[in-house]
């Protein structure tokens, strides 16, 4: 961790109006929860579909994508990363600092609203709010690490990340069950299932598979990103 790098990253990520734009995500979640609270539908199913599909399934990947690539890819893109790389600071420290900022931002903008939405929808029933918050936190961290790596590896990080989050996790995952084993979203769901009351959430991936995969992906992505940043080529692509 380096405090200056962290401060600059936060400024780059949330400075100007960008922080306000990111606030759209939690605001939307809370608005839907308040609307849904008044509807006469089964509250439990509703909470599982809103927290599971909307929050964990869509908002967290998109937020992770914006934040994970935003902490480093924008700097690489506009070339200002050279001033950071020229400082006597180990590259892995830059990566871990930026990752920490990304993870904390994802938690603030996704996990906290998920918890609040859960409380609004079902209160403390079945432990759903806490369960989905934990699921959001672990998958948010994994997404941040994964998308930060993409930001270092390719100029088209956002498109590649979208292809993974939407095409692989949603589209392919719907048809091919095996694809769900390799999906950050399902790992988060698996963690949520363990915390929630028995039978209230269904997740296709076992916890014994999900947790090691989460840890391996997060750590490996961070390590690989450090290696890649150590040998970064700064060249215009087009």
């Amino acid at each position: 961790m380096n405090r200056t790098v962290a401060r600059l990253t936060v400024l780059g990520l949330l400075g100007r109006r960008r922080g306000a734009l990111l606030l759209v995500v939690p605001a939307l979640l809370l608005v839907i929860s308040v609307i849904a609270r008044g509807a006469d539908v089964d509250k439990h199913d509703l909470a599982v579909s809103i927290l599971g599909q909307l929050s964990l399934g869509t908002l967290v990947p998109i937020l992770g994508l914006v934040v994970g690539t935003g902490v480093i890819a924008t700097e690489i893109d506009d070339g200002s990363i050279v001033y950071l790389l020229a400082k006597p600071l180990p590259r892995w420290k830059i990566i871990t600092t930026k990752l920490a900022v990304a993870i904390v931002t994802t938690w603030v903008f996704a996990a906290v609203p998920t918890f609040l939405a859960g409380l609004i929808l079902v209160g403390t029933q079945d432990n759903l709010a806490v369960a989905f918050t934990l699921g959001t936190m672990v998958s948010g961290a994994a997404y941040s690490a994964l998308f930060l790596l993409l930001g270092v590896v390719t100029r088209h990080a956002v498109v590649a990340g979208l292809a993974y989050a939407l095409v692989w996790e949603s589209l392919v995952g719907n048809f091919v069950n095996g694809a769900k084993t390799l999906s950050v979203q399902q790992w988060g769901l698996s963690v949520a299932r363990t915390v929630a009351a028995d039978g209230s959430i269904s997740a296709p991936v076992a916890l014994g598979v999900a947790v090691p995969l989460l840890i391996v992906v997060t750590v490996a992505a961070t390590a690989f990103a450090s290696v890649k940043l150590a040998g970064l080529t700064l060249a215009a692509e087009e």
Partner: protein, 305 residues
Amino acid sequence: MSLPPEATANRTAAADSGVIHNIGYRSYQGPRLGRSYATRSLFVQSLRAAYGLGRSGKSKVLPVLVLGALAAPALVIVAYAILQHAKQLPVDYPQYLSTFSIFIEIFLAAQAPVLMSRDLRYQTVPLYFSRPITRGDYVRAKFGAMVSAMLILMAVPLLVLYLGSILGGLPLGHNTGHLLYGLVAAVLYAVLYSALGLLIAASTPRRGFGVAAIMGALVVSSIFAGVVFGLSGGLNGYVPESAHWSAVLSPSMLVDGLVNQVFGLVGDPRTTHAPGALGVAVFAVEIAALVVGSYWLMLSRYRKI
């Protein structure tokens, strides 16, 4: 000034043999191609850029991948229908576009910033405006290019379906009619999506941010509409007609609903459709308002540059 003697000798010899004639400054007197030619060139260049033509190999990867991903299922569907000796295609033409809309949205999200953000980022927009083309021409050319690029993207799989089913001996009249429905849907998708996508892309010089914002807006709005649909009774066995009003919240469901209702493609009450004549009017007006509003905002955004 101590050049070696042979060098000075060479120089004087060269000066003797070559004379510079002062012909004065002459401005270009020939014909000029004018504003419309420049706009057309910008349109062609933008359309090519949308598919990465004339650019590096890397920028061709994504458009080609998306085009392939959108066209490949059409081949499979046609092959399946022919092998099964089916009376008609298992997926109707407009339904094909809404089923695989994720690829259309990815294409828009990835390529709209290519057209808009790069000019802003490298500050080439003022250079365009120092030529005869006006701000309106610039927006028109970019909008036309994006709409054409998306039309090409959607027309290819539809034509694959059509040609395949005609060659496979499926009824000609039915397929031609439904191909036209599909093409109308494609035009609506192209115009609405391009207007929204280009507006978002024009508001940020950062490509990555533009991609995420476009995709976020489209995906989140359709999930939001889905949740509202569910809340108003869409998850029950019997779907009330009023639940379909939720489609006004999402651009993709808006087009899908309008096309399904106008062309009478509603087989089952769960299919997205505009509820009644009032629904058709509201959906059509909303699409028009979104397109015109986005276009106007884009114009006013470039007026400031």
